[in-house]
C-alpha cells in the first residue's frame, strides 16, 4: 500500500527502542510505503500532539501512538479521525471515550496486579511491601496503585502495603527516593513492586549495591540491569511487555484500516479494562529465573499469534 504510518512514543524512552525495527520489518513484510518511528523531543503531551499535527501536514495516513496522556490525547485523535486518519493506541491505552481504533498494549492494571501477585508469591504470601510508581499526575499511576492494593487486599492482611512512592520515573529522582526508602526502612520491608521502567532499574541496582537478597523485587520491562538482577538473585522477576509486537502488529493493522480494506469490528472479543473497552493484550509475562533465557521466543510466538489471527478476530475486511 502507499500508506505512510508513524509510530509515536510519548517521548524519548528506552522502552520504545524496538519500535524502530518493528516498523521497518512491518513495512518490508506487508509492503507498506513507510512505517516511521517519530519521537517527540521531550516527554510532554503538547510536543507529542504538535508532532502528530505536523506529520499530518506531511501526508502521514495513520498513527500508532503511545498516549503522552491517556486523556489528553483524545482531542487530537478526534481531529485525526475527522480527517479520515485512523489512529491506534499502542503500548498504553487512551481513556474511553476515545476515537482510537483499538488499544494494543499492556493492560496496566492487570500487569501491575499480576506483578504484585508474583511478588507476594515470592515472599511466601506474607510481609510488607512498597510500591514504586511513575508520575503521580499520569492517570495510569492511579490504576497501578489500585491494582497493587487489590492484590494486597486479597491476602487478607497477610501482606500490607507500607507506602506508594511516586514520581520515580526519572533517573536521579528514582535514585534519591529509592535509596532514601532503603536507608530508612530496609529492615522493615520485605518486597518492592515497581510499575515503571526507571524505578525497576534503579531498585535492581540499589538492591545489588546493598547486597540484599532478602527484599524481593518485581519490576517491569526487560532492561539489562533488571535481567542481570534476576540472574544473580537480586530481583524476583519482572513483567515483560511486548514493545516489538506492539509496533509490528500495530503497523500491520493500521495499514489495513487506512487503506480502507478493513474496519474494526464492534462485537469482537475485546477485553474490557478500566481504561477502554477495545483492548487487545499484546502479551505480558513474568520473567523469572526459569524463563529468562526463553521469554523472547515466547514473546515472538505471541506476536506471530496476534498478527495472524487479528484480521479474523477484530476486523471486518472487504
Amino acid at each position: 500500500s502507499d500508506n505512510k504510518i508513524a509510530l509515536i512514543p510519548g517521548g524519548p524512552h528506552p522502552y520504545f527502542a524496538p519500535w524502530e525495527q518493528a516498523g521497518k520489518d512491518a513495512a518490508k513484510d506487508f509492503g507498506i510505503a513507510a512505517v516511521d518511528f517519530k519521537v517527540p523531543a521531550e516527554w510532554k503531551l503538547n510536543l507529542q500532539t504538535e508532532l502528530v499535527e505536523s506529520l499530518v501536514s506531511q501526508g502521514y495516513t495513520a498513527f500508532g501512538i503511545f498516549p503522552g496522556d491517556a486523556v489528553g490525547i483524545n482531542q487530537t485523535v478526534e481531529e485525526l479521525t475527522a480527517n479520515n486518519i485512523p489512529a491506534a493506541a499502542l503500548a498504553g491505552c487512551a481513556q474511553d471515550p476515545t476515537k482510537m481504533s483499538f488499544c494494543l498494549g499492556t493492560d496496566v492494571f492487570n500487569s501491575a496486579y499480576l506483578g504484585t501477585q508474583a511478588l507476594i508469591k515470592s515472599m511466601n504470601g506474607k510481609g510488607k511491601i512498597v510500591h514504586l510508581a511513575g508520575l503521580l499526575v499520569d492517570p495510569n499511576t492511579k490504576l497501578r496503585m489500585d491494582a497493587v492494593e487489590k492484590a494486597v487486599k486479597e491476602t487478607n492482611g497477610a501482606v500490607t502495603i507500607v507506602q506508594h512512592i511516586t514520581d520515580t520515573d526519572a533517573q536521579e529522582a528514582a535514585d534519591q527516593k529509592i535509596n532514601a526508602l532503603l536507608g530508612a526502612q530496609k529492615d522493615e520491608i520485605d518486597g518492592l513492586i515497581s510499575t515503571a521502567y526507571i524505578p525497576s532499574v534503579v531498585a535492581a541496582k540499589s538492591l545489588r549495591n546493598l547486597g540484599d537478597k532478602r527484599i524481593k523485587l518485581v519490576g517491569i520491562d526487560d532492561d539489562q540491569i533488571v535481567l542481570d538482577g534476576i540472574k544473580d538473585g537480586f530481583v524476583a522477576g519482572t513483567m515483560a511487555q511486548n514493545p516489538y509486537g506492539q509496533g509490528y502488529v500495530g503497523a500491520y493493522v493500521l495499514d489495513l484500516i487506512a487503506s480502507g480494506t478493513c474496519t474494526v469490528k464492534a462485537d469482537a472479543p475485546w477485553i474490557k479494562t478500566p481504561q477502554t473497552e477495545h483492548f487487545i493484550d499484546s502479551g505480558t509475562l513474568l520473567i523469572s529465573n526459569d524463563n529468562a533465557a526463553t521469554y523472547k521466543d515466547d514473546l515472538k510466538k505471541i506476536t506471530a499469534e496476534i498478527q495472524s489471527t487479528f484480521k479474523d478476530k477484530y476486523l471486518t475486511c472487504k
Binding site: E50, V56, N74, Q75, V137
Partner: protein, 338 residues
C-alpha cells in the same frame, strides 16, 4: 549642536526604537515563514495553520502571565500550578457539580486570580523575593490540587468544550482571538491606565516610585493577581483544546512563559514590557518549532536545530538593531556637516 528644548517638533527616538524592534522581530518571523513555506509546502496547509494558531494562542497567554509579573521586576514560578488549579476547578465545577460552562469558567478564573493575589500578598508582606515565594507556592498549589483531586482527570465535560477547541474561524482557532483580545486589554493597561503605569514604575525603581506616591505594594499585588488570572486563562484554553481537565497541565510552562516575553523585549529587571513583543516572541518560537517538525528535521536532533535557530534569530535581531542605530546616527551626522 546639542538640542535645547525646542517646544514642539520633538523627535521621539525611544518610541521609534521600540517600534523598530518589533518590526525587526516581525521581519525575522516573516523570513522563517518564507523559508519554511518554500522548503516544506505542508507548512501552510490549513491543518497546520490551525494547529499552529492554537498552540500559539496558549503560548501567548502563558507569556502574558509571566510578562505582567516581570513588569514589577519579579517572577512567578507558580503559573503552571495556578493554571492547573484553575483547570481542575473548572473540571470539578462542570463535571461534578454540573454548573453551566460560563459560570464554571468564571469561578476558575477567580480562583486563579485569588491564588495570584495570595502570592502577591505574601511577597509584599514578607518582603521576601518573589522567586522564592512563588517557588514554594508552586509546590503548595500543585500539592493542594493533588490532595483534593487525587490526580483524577475530568473527562466527561460538556461536549461544547471540546467542540469549541476544534472550532475554526477561517483556518484559525478562535482561541487565538481570545489571546489577542487579552493582549489588547494589556496594551490598554500598560499604556493608558494609571495602574499599568504604576506597575511599571514600581518595577523600574520601587524606591523612586514609592517616594512619588505610587502604592508599590498594591501595584505588585495587582500584577500578581493579574498573572494568576492569566495563568488560569491559559489553563482554561487548554481545557478547550484537550476537551478534558487533567492534572498534568501546566508542568511545562515555565520556560515558554519566560521565552516569549524576553524574546519580545520585556526586561527581566522590570519596568518595561512589550505586549506585541510577547506575541511576536511566542510566534517566533511556535513558527520555528512547527517549521522544523514539518521539515522532518530528524527526531532526536530537533532540539539541536531549535536551539541553533533560536540563537540565529536573536543574533540576527541584535545585529539588525545595532545596525539600525548606527545608520540613524550616520544620517544625522552627514546632515549636520552639509
Amino acid at each position: 549642536m546639542t538640542l535645547s528644548v525646542p517646544s514642539d517638533s520633538r523627535a521621539r527616538p525611544s518610541f521609534l526604537a521600540e517600534q523598530s524592534n518589533l518590526i525587526g522581530l516581525a521581519a525575522i518571523i516573516l523570513l522563517f515563514w518564507v523559508l519554511f513555506t518554500s522548503l516544506a509546502p505542508g507548512f501552510v496547509s490549513t491543518f497546520n495553520l490551525f494547529a499552529l494558531s492554537r498552540s500559539l494562542a496558549v503560548d501567548v497567554v502563558i507569556g502574558f502571565s509571566t510578562m505582567v509579573v516581570l513588569a514589577t521586576g519579579g517572577m512567578n514560578l507558580a503559573i503552571g500550578s495556578i493554571g492547573v488549579c484553575a483547570v481542575m476547578a473548572s473540571g470539578y465545577l462542570m463535571q461534578t457539580i454540573g454548573l453551566p460552562i460560563p459560570v464554571a469558567m468564571a469561578l476558575a478564573l477567580l480562583l486563579g486570580a485569588f491564588l495570584g493575589w495570595l502570592n502577591g500578598f505574601v511577597i509584599v508582606r514578607s518582603g521576601v523575593n518573589s522567586f522564592i515565594i512563588t517557588l514554594a507556592s508552586a509546590s503548595l498549589f500543585l500539592g493542594g490540587m493533588l490532595i483534593l483531586s487525587k490526580a483524577q482527570t475530568f473527562n466527561a465535560l460538556p461536549p461544547e468544550i471540546a467542540a469549541f477547541g476544534r472550532m475554526r474561524w477561517g483556518f484559525l482557532s478562535p482561541l487565538l482571538f481570545v489571546a489577542l483580545g487579552l493582549g489588547a486589554a494589556l496594551i490598554v493597561l500598560f499604556r493608558f491606565t494609571a495602574l499599568g503605569r504604576e506597575i511599571l514604575a514600581a518595577g523600574a525603581n520601587a524606591r523612586a516610585a514609592e517616594l512619588s506616591g505610587v502604592p508599590v505594594g498594591r501595584a505588585i499585588i495587582i500584577a500578581h493577581t493579574l498573572s494568576g488570572a492569566l495563568a488560569a486563562s491559559a489553563g482554561l484554553m487548554l481545557v478547550f483544546r484537550l476537551g478534558a481537565a487533567m492534572p498534568s497541565i501546566g508542568q511545562d510552562w515555565l520556560l515558554p512563559s519566560f521565552l516569549a516575553p524576553v524574546l519580545g523585549g520585556t526586561l527581566l529587571a522590570g519596568g518595561y514590557v512589550s505586549v506585541v513583543g510577547t506575541i511576536l516572541g511566542a510566534f517566533l518560537v511556535t513558527t520555528i518549532r512547527s517549521g522544523l517538525l514539518v521539515m522532518q528535521i530528524g527526531n532526536f536532533w530537533l532540539q539541536l536545530f531549535l536551539g541553533l535557530i533560536l540563537l540565529a534569530a536573536v543574533m540576527l535581531d541584535r545585529y539588525r538593531s545595532v545596525y539600525a542605530e548606527r545608520r540613524s546616527l550616520g544620517r544625522r551626522n552627514s546632515g549636520r556637516r552639509a
